[in-house]
């Protein structure tokens, strides 16, 4: 039992920034825009560090796939308490088309290479809202998955996960090794304080190329066009039901 947790973190545009579509409609402007760690990934890192502090896991390894700047995101995770980082270099065109399928292949390969016992990810990224990487990674590894986790407890015979589902809360027990994805109420992430950021500069970040892991980055998806949502039209208030019906008839809806 390695006692190793692999945590995936993604560098995304900060949630408070107003995004803008590129003039050529190929995507969203990212140059110079404030980025930060995906909020659900912060929760995932916090959970992993908590497990280590409770001595239920021995080592937390944090992974990020992306360009040079992803290293900053890994540093923040290291400052939160992760032990070491792996930066999978993906940049340029490859980065623009990077999606859950390729990332889950990378994570699966790393999990085997690092002999990980547990993979914790955020449930989804706030830029694409795919909510697929955790599930795909589990499938590729043929591991059980505990997604939308709002409570995680490691027990002798497996992991008890309380999941947030449409109908309420579902409690399951899965065997290890497993993949977990973090939902909002799992924990409150700690701050990355300055002394920890300074210490994190001394922690190791290994550089890996997707090719070294035998992963092909070709995307099966092609983005045709990106547009802003249509402007919301002003509504209309009516006084009576008859008014409403006649207006609906006029508009051809009835």
């Amino acid at each position: 039992m390695s006692g190793r947790v692999l945590v995936g973190v993604k560098r995304v545009i900060d949630y408070a920034v107003k995004i803008r579509v590129k003039p050529d409609h190929s995507g969203v402007v990212t140059d110079g825009v404030k980025h930060s760690m995906n909020p659900f990934c912060e929760i995932a890192v916090e959970e992993a560090v908590k497990l280590k502090e409770k001595k239920l896991m021995k080592e937390v390894v944090v992974v990020s796939c992306g360009p040079q700047q992803s290293q900053e995101t890994i540093r923040t995770a290291l400052a939160m308490g992760a032990d070491r980082g792996i930066h999978v270099e993906v940049s340029g065109k490859d980065y623009e088309t990077l999606g859950p399928l390729q990332v889950s292949k990378i994570l699966a390969a790393l999990a085997k290479k690092e002999d990980a016992q547990l993979i914790i990810l955020g449930k989804q990224a706030i830029d694409d809202d795919c909510n697929q990487t955790g599930q795909m990674t589990a499938a590729l590894l043929d591991w059980p998955q505990g997604t939308f986790a709002s409570e995680v407890s490691l027990e002798k015979d497996g992991i008890k996960v309380v999941r947030e589902i449409d109908g309420g809360l579902e409690t399951i027990k899965i065997s290890t090794p497993a993949v977990l994805t973090a939902d909002l109420r799992l924990n409150t992430p700690r701050y990355a304080t300055l002394p920890n950021i300074m210490k994190a500069k001394k922690k190791k970040i290994a550089n890996v190329k997707p090719a070294d892991l035998g992963v092909d980055l070709t995307s099966r998806l092609e983005v045709l066009r990106v547009d802003e949502p249509p402007q919301r039209q002003a509504g209309m208030k009516v006084e009576t039901v008859d008014d409403l019906v006649s207006k609906l008839k006029d508009a051809g809806k009835v």
Binding site: Y15, A16, V17, K18, D31, V33, K34, T188
Partner: protein, 639 residues
Amino acid sequence: MCQTEAAVGGLSHVTALVLTCTSSLSAAHRCIRALTAVQAERGAPQLYTAVTRRTCSSVTAPRITTHYTIRPRDKDPRWEGVEMERFADQADVVIVGGGPAGLSAAIRLKQLANEHQKELRVCLVEKAPQMGAHTLSGACLEPSALTELFPDWKERGAPLNTPVTEDVFNIFTKNHRIPVPILPGLPMQNHGNYLVRLGNFVRWLGEQAEELGVELYPGYAAAEVLFHEDGSVKGVATNDVGIAKDGSPKDVFERGMELHAKVTLFGEGCHGHLAKQLYKQFNLRENCEPQTYAIGLKELWMIDEKKWKPGRTEHSVGWPLDRHTYGGSFLYHLNEGEPLVALGFVVGLDYTNPYLSPFREFQRWKHHPFVAATLEGGQRIAYGARALNEGGFQSIPKLTFPGGLLIGCSPGFMNVPKIKGTHTAMKSGILAAEAIFPKVTAEEADSETAGLHVPEYAESLKSSWVWKELHSVRNIRPSFHNPLGLYGGMIYTGIFYWILRGKEPWTLKHRGLDAHQLKPAKECTPIEYPKPDGKISFDLLSSVALSGTNHEGDQPPHLTLKDDSVPVARNLAVYDGPEQRFCPAGVYEYVPVETGDGMRLQINAQNCVHCKTCDIKDPSQNINWVVPEGGGGPAYNGM
């Protein structure tokens, strides 16, 4: 303490009675009865009645300020037993603020260290989440200081991509303009200068600094100045994190960190909050005039390509401001591969009408035919605001004190008629580095105090071009205070600057503190501003959203009030709440209290764009802006 203290004009004799009230409902009723009695006896006019009804709530107002700088934690039972010990680290030099001044100082220090093969640990803390995210400026950069710092700036890829090609100056009237020729020698002549996106320039400076080995820590705000036993500056402490909105510690509470240094450079920009403390602590302003300010609001627009004239620089004065309100506009056509223009409006904060809203003046200025023609068919992509210095030469404080010194716009080296302060800020950073380098690397500390005192910095600044430049334009801004207002100022500039180059033997004075210039609301006329049309002019909240500003919601508001009752009792009562109008981010709102009559001040701290205008212009000087949790604030991108 009674929350219904009413200090309205002639009712001041009641204040003494009111102040002795204890905080309870019956006390509030006593206050109201007392005031009503006075009101009846004076046969108060309409306005008084309205005003007293607003200033006397029948319920005590909720506490607004919970920040520990106003409500100390050592006596607070919620903080009992909380570990307050801070981790400390030692550097040679600590720099507060990652703007042009701070970064120039850091870079110069490391250049000197490499030249002389000396080890030097330089740490720079910056409250913005990334370098340049809190930077906002026009900007038209004079590259003199940059060339001194990096003679090869072009090869290094400094983002100076737009040389000025055309320079236009107009006096606007409501529908027309009067062009003013920019003769060589006038301060607003821009040949040889570059239009830059200062945020991108600062980001580039940050990259250069990191390459040279400066330790940059964006996302960490310097919250406190630390002192040695002998009173000299020991360094700074960064902000605590994890304090709830009500001032109590959360589970994730962690103390900030202490950074100790031989000497600390303070480069917080215009009206820095630590500088404000240092002025008091070391009496740095005893021989200079108070600083005077302006607020600058800015937007970036993507315009119709056909209207794009890269390198074109436009400035205007006049409409919509009257001749007694200082201010003007800029519109710069950038040349960075897309039809982007940077435009903005500056209003002097010595304006007298509390009904004036700098934001709405900016929005309505855009409708002037000359400006609207450029913006029609375009799209606004960014918004922001920041206060800037206008005091110039007369307002420069003492620059050095034991353990530290002030650089950049913090003490204030802006050349107001040129509307440029970046080149002088950078030069001050460079001179600071050159002055402290021999002292921090000396084998034996040559100082009486534990924190190094470096008066050589002030000396070298005084014999540099910065001083000469600021001295020559010192009378232009104050010349504005004459019966002809703007026109008098322009005549003065024409005679004494253009012809005599500022060599006149006298030095005109400013009017005093900006905060004291407001006239009471009853003496002024409200201004009828046009409604925003959603195409050229916009409302405040959609503008604030474009600044990308955000703060952790569950933290004490960083706009602290020395006295929670003053806003309703004085600002609203006498000045009709000018903070509702001068804040460019909608932080201050007077809302009706939930039960009963009266108003209360609501502080929407999350909207703050860190412009510092409220701390400057509050007529009661009751607002004290302190630094929020690091990383919060605007997310400007190349502003």
